[in-house]
């Protein structure tokens, strides 16, 4: 009798975050558990809050600010999309860094971008290279964005037909630089992103866009950020800690998962909030106070 009692005591004294994860697992439906197991990735808090399923077109908006950069989320999602268990492809629109930067960052995380590019699983559109902008040839921003969308659509169509790739992810880093390239016409940028969103419905792609939340915080009218938040299925917000800088905890993440279909047919949204610490080869996610 005594032995049994001590066993139950041990079970109850497990750290609280373990209990929370169990609770979330029970809440998820059967299909996403199967999808998680099929991917066989080590699961962390971010992956779990994203819902695990990579099928079906979704738009993920990543918002960051000057104090804390959200680039690590883009790297994580990029690595997830390129993992070797699936035959997914990625179209990467880079406005901020050349390929060499991402190559080195992801190599430390165990993903070789150059090889993926050679295997046609990654299409890297380097917008830093001036010939992409074609500004000297007198093209307007509208023409440039239309041409860019054409490239993306063509790449998606080719990918789909070629080797029956299950899922294509379009990554944009980042939207505020696209606005600068479009000389401030946010309408053009919004149209472009809406067209990219239509690809999610048409071809089942995913769209991941990085934007800077603090740029729009002083603008009152409906601005680009609000429109994007409305379009997005998942909004990931990266903020610094309220208490300031720290070496152990680099900031906090808030994941808002909208339009979740519950069994009863209604849609809900779920909010997750946790903290993170960035390392070269991975990122640790943990609930406040539970960092080991």
């Amino acid at each position: 009798m005594l032995l049994l009692k001590s066993k139950t005591l041990i079970e109850k004294s497990k750290p609280p975050n373990y209990c929370i994860i169990n609770y979330q697992r029970n809440q998820r439906n059967y299909h996403s558990i199967r999808a998680v197991m099929a991917n066989a990735l080590p699961s962390n808090l971010l992956d779990e809050s994203l819902g695990g399923s990579s099928g079906g077109g979704r738009m993920i908006l990543v918002e960051d600010c000057v104090e804390t950069s959200g680039a690590f989320v883009v790297h994580h999602l990029l690595k997830r999309a390129l993992n070797s268990h699936s035959s997914d492809a990625v179209v990467f629109l880079s406005f901020s860094h050349p390929l060499s930067h991402y190559d080195r960052v992801l190599r430390k995380m165990g993903c070789n971008l150059s090889v993926q590019r050679d295997n046609k699983r990654l299409l890297f559109l380097d917008m830093l290279a001036l010939d992409h902008l074609d500004r000297n040839r007198g093209k307007t921003s509208e023409d440039i964005l239309i041409a860019l969308y054409g490239e993306i659509q063509k790449a998606v169509e080719i990918s789909r037909s070629h080797e029956a790739r299950h899922h294509i992810t379009v990554v944009i880093d980042d939207v505020s630089l696209m606005e600068v390239d479009a000389n401030g016409s946010s309408d053009l940028v919004l149209d472009f992103l809406r067209y990219c969103c239509s690809l999610t419905a048409q071809f089942g792609c995913s769209l991941i866009a990085l934007n800077h939340g603090d740029v729009y915080s002083t603008v009152d009218q409906p601005n680009l950020l609000l429109q994007l938040e409305y379009l997005a299925d998942i909004v990931i917000k990266i903020e610094p800690l309220a208490t300031g800088l720290a070496k152990d905890v680099h900031g906090q993440l808030t994941v808002t998962n909208r339009n979740l279909r519950v069994d009863s047919g209604k849609s809900r949204s779920r909010i997750h909030n946790f903290q993170f610490r960035i390392k070269d080869n991975s990122v640790e996610y943990f609930y406040p106070g539970s960092k080991t």
């Binding site: 080195r104 960052v105 401030g184 800077h212 800088l245």
Partner: protein, 364 residues
Amino acid sequence: MVMAANKPRSGSFSRNFGAASSSVPSIPGLKHGPNGTMLLSSGIPDLDKILGGGLALGSLVVVTEDPEAPHHMLLLRNFMSQGLVHRQPLIYASPASDPRGFLGTLPSPMVSKDEKSRVHETEQEKGLRIAWQYKKYIGEHTSESHRGGKSEYCNDFDLRKPLERHFFSGKQIDCVSLKESADLGAFHERCSSFLSQANQNNGNITGGRIAIQSLCSPQCEYSNREWEMLSFVRSLKSVVRLSNAVAVVTFSPSLVSTTFSIRLQHLADTLVSVKAIPDEDKELAKLLTGYQDMVGLLSVHKVARFNTQVPAILETTTFSMKLQKRRSLVLECINQAPVDGATGSSYGSSGSCSGSSKTGSFDF
């Protein structure tokens, strides 16, 4: 996982050519930084230390000015002088009608005699220091062992002595007046050709420097066209990124809208702000030790991180700017005065990190 097994490529580890392994750097004025980057000096030894060795080649440094004090000019002067001492090509732009005049105010490197006396002084004071400040000694030891090298990576500049004529004899010094240009396109062309010239230097990397002072100054015609200025900085950033140069741009946030200012801050790889300290402020004098010597405050908001996703978390982000003996610029951690208000000599006096954080009357 495909880990470059096919090609004979080097792995993700880059060899750290630290100061310990190579005694003399192969290229004067440049040194290897973390993650495969190359660094050049900002001209201020303390700032180099704070930023992890110097400014990374290909990075864009943005300095936000305080309209009440010209401290950003101190940073620019040291930056430009360091470039001239190392014979690195330089282009300087400002809203003045005759920007060449500014070159006359550039400081000269300190003579070695003064350096030796400074080293001697700190050694004497060492005995008086309290033992728990051991971190200081480690830092000073490594920096002392590198003084006396013929061409130093970072010089101490004497702000009272102007730079000697022979440093200006190089052909690669260009001055541009921003007031003259109706739009920034022509200036951008000039920067691009400057960078391509600097890159072609017989295959040797020398590192180039671009210094743009007060970009949003209202004297310039384009100053009310914010998207044009943003577009210029963005294109500048992309050409600098692909070159071996560092660009320093200063601007005053009070002259532009908040969204523009934040966009520009996001564009920056390294973001630094300078702030003025009011003279004769009794509250501050009670709060901070060494207040009398302070000329301003410098905050580091972002440090350039290429090829890595790990952010640089500094021990402290705000430093006081002091002119040591009215000659050289030093940056120190802010030390809070003892609670009982007893005035005495300050503990920190040469770039050490022993101070505690400041109290909340500041909002940086």
